[in-house]
Amino acid sequence: MDKLALSDDILMKIEKPARYIGHEVNAVVKDKSKVGIRFAMCFPDVYEIGMSHLGIQILYDMFNSMEDVWCERVYSPWLDLDAIMRKERIPLFALESQDPIKDFDFLGITIQYEMCYTNILQVLDLAQIPLLAQERGEEYPIVIGGGPCVYNPEPLADFFDLFYIGEGETSYEPLLRLYRECRAAGVGRVEFLRRAARIPGIYAPRFYRVTYHEDGTIASFAPTEEGIPPRILKEIVMDLSHTYYPMKPVVPYIKVTQDRVVLEIQRGCIRGCRFCQAGQIYRPVRERDVETMKRYAMEMLRNTGHEEISLSSLSSSDYRMLPELIDYLIGECDKRHINISLPSLRIDAFSLDVMSKVQDVRKSSLTFAPEAGSQRLRDVINKGLTEEMILKGAAMAFHGGWTRVKLYFMLGLPTETEEDIRGIAELSNRIAATFFEEIPKEERKNGRVQIVTSTAFFVPKPFTPLQWARQCTKEEFLQKAYDTKRAISEQLNQKSIKYNWHEADASVMEGVLARGDRRLGQVILNVYRKGCIYDAWGEYYKNEVWLEALAECGLTVDFYTRERDLDEIFPWDFIDCGVTREFLKREWLKALDGTTSPNCRQQCQGCGARRFGGGICFA
């Protein structure tokens, strides 16, 4: 197993050759003569990002637990290697066997964010697989996409043979069984895809046709053949305590973004923030059993040797067994010199107490995500965090020794006014003021407090109550960022506040792709052909190329960022994520009205997820 796809000459020339050589601890190597199905699992970004993704690790473990399947990993080659592979016509390969991807049975691609779409084409192209699904012959792998972005797969419809809608743990077994049967019976590619389209959660875009009104909105979306389902219900695992979990995750040699054991304690979120897609598409909330979590934690630490463990969920504070789990982890990890990282905790007395035990208070910072500057706008987005809660949490934290606070906001939310923007500056200022009021001069450790206020630009996402909202233009966004900056500079404690904002043009394009339709496939293709990849990396994003490609296809940014009609057909309407369109519409109207909704634990809002028959809906 000493084979490497790249020559020494290349490996010595490129940055971080360890990205491409495989052979990591816990990487799964099988005898390829003894497996029937070769599955390449891809995260279309650089190794360090892709290796940090839990979803792929879960599926890698699941596939490799099947005797007849060998699942391997593949990531986007970095720009230096990308250029060499193109020039020397080296086919993209999987890390474990170093074999070309084009010889695999499946290429699975997880699609986590819109700005990786050109990297998907990069992967296909380097793999020497035709970019358009229709042009792939029998010899090519079946290209299947999954992940959150496939809740609107339409902009990518031309490039994929199949999409898997929902959680991966359930439908791959029947899909692979069908594949084996079709192969044994000599059934060709198209017929396999046709039959696959009937498996729950599987969407085969080639069997659907879209027609458009003159104004560009969708007139109809329907299967082109009998027997192809018109609607696709997402797949979901209801018993999270008895399913696949990677007990032996691959341990990378180089430092990756998530260089630690990741323990997923629950899926879904009870909160129902109206801008948040994850909060809707992963409903209902399902907790994992705490005893199972304790066992997993210790076993994974033993198998990896990682020096840190992190809890993963959309809102860890809502996990009911959190105190018990944390107590256990603190006890066990302390003995073993293992750090505990606790992201996504609400700041309160409990979490501050826990955090003071697991981190160095002087070196760490606290994070609040008020998302909007005023209570009115927080009510619009249903962010159940009040100014009083934030100031109280901050005061407790300052007494606990913390002096650094990070604040996350969004600009461009629906109904936003200048006053809401000023609210961002004022809230930042009040937190700084709280420090000076609460902590007497002689006790101020560094003498001062540091507030880092960051704003992202609001991007409306499918399957959220704000999916109808208009997205701001780049110019509007920049004006808002400028207004925020000015408002902060007018504050009394402005010297304690640092302000950062995201890039506006990439956020607009993210919005175009997020709510886009099939016609954008040509745009993505054109952008890729003009040389764009790694759009998610600010320094490589070329806005003018995207605008040029849109124009070439006769499309405009404004069409995709406009406010949508209440009853307009969305490109993603054929997907049923469990949460109903009626519920989302109710929430949208409540948002415009500034009315909040209670969370799942307080009172059921009848979102529709109850039909899955479990989780919090039946707790």
Binding site: M1, D2, L4, D8, D9, L11, M12, K13, P17, A18, I21, G22, H23, E24, V25, V251, Y253, I254, K255, L301, R302, N303, T304, G305, H306, E307, R336, H337, N339, Q359, D360, K363
Partner: protein, 295 residues
């Protein structure tokens, strides 16, 4: 107690850089459940020290890492455990207990031995097997070295302790070069620089990425004050060192010779001396150790 671990690095893993090898061992020690000591504080780290960093792309049969342990089982058990949880291509070949007064792995490095092979079709176009004496008879060999102050001319001749032609099992037509060179932090001589200078001296530029280099062993220098260390004479390499007209002898031993095999489990409290560990001190310091003026 301090434990010295010797390991090999070969195959695809040779493309892992030095810092990543350190990270690899931090995790491997946990997986192997070695009772390693940690620093205090909020982000404790293992107490470890590596000998000299190995460049990316090089293989080695003689890499070293020292770790501080609270307790040990025995050499064979610790070696087996590390190899069981290890990656193919990083192979632990010895685990030894260091005496109290032994210098740490990094500080003690004095020299390293290398085998340098030429990649197929990239051997230099001159009879490098027979010109070696001529090359070594040069009083100074200047090469460009990148330093913080920019490019500098450095004389690497004093850092070349031994150089000879050896058979190459892979390819008979192009024999390999054996090199023993200074590897101390102050005077480190890179094998590629030596071969480049050798080729340069005979007017033949070295092709790109022409060399396949294996570090065979890492040596420390026996000093008078370390006479208590038990080292058998047959592992001592005596080399002549010259500088500024003087020549003297240096006694080099592989780094793991400073330690002793661990035969029974031990707790941190007990530390046997070298003598107790069952080795006799041989090889008295030669008189030549005192500097003698040659010319």
């Amino acid at each position: 107690m301090r434990v010295r671990v010797k390991f090999r690095k070969y195959g695809p893993i040779r493309f892992i850089g030095h810092l990543d090898v350190m990270r690899y061992f931090q995790k491997a020690l946990r997986r192997a459940e070695i009772d390693v000591a940690y620093t205090a504080g909020f982000s404790p780290h293992q107490i470890m020290s590596f000998a000299s960093p190995l460049g990316v792309g090089l293989e080695s049969n003689g890499e070293y890492m020292d770790i501080e342990c609270h307790s040990v089982t025995d050499s064979r058990d610790m070696m087996e455990r590390l190899n069981r949880v290890g990656a193919p291509g990083i192979e632990v070949v010895s685990v030894k207990l260091l005496p109290k007064n032994a210098g740490n792995a990094m500080a003690s490095v004095a020299a390293a031995a290398y085998t340098v092979r030429f990649r197929e079709g990239r051997a230099p176009r001159f009879d490098y097997a027979s010109k070696l004496d001529e090359f070594l008879s040069m009083e100074h060999i200047y090469v460009q070295k990148e330093t913080k102050k920019g490019l500098q001319e450095v004389d690497i001749r004093p850092g070349i302790f031994e150089m000879s032609i050896v058979a190459n099992d892979c390819c008979e037509e192009s024999p390999a070069i054996y090199l023993l060179a200074d590897s101390s932090s102050a005077g480190n001589v890179k094998p590629a620089k030596v071969v480049e200078a050798y080729c340069g001296a005979f007017g033949t530029p070295l092709a790109d990425n022409a060399l396949l280099i294996t570090r065979e062993e890492t040596y420390t220098e026996l000093r008078e004050e370390e006479e208590t260390v038990a080292v058998s004479s047959d592992v001592v390499k005596v080399v002549s060192a010259h500088a500024e007209g003087t020549i003297w002898q240096r006694r080099l031993v592989p780094l793991d010779e400073m330690g002793t095999e661990i035969l029974t489990p031990m707790d941190g409290a007990v530390l046997p001396t070298a003598q107790e560990a069952g080795k006799a001190v041989l090889s008295p310091m030669p008189e030549a150790a005192e500097r003698e003026v040659v010319s």
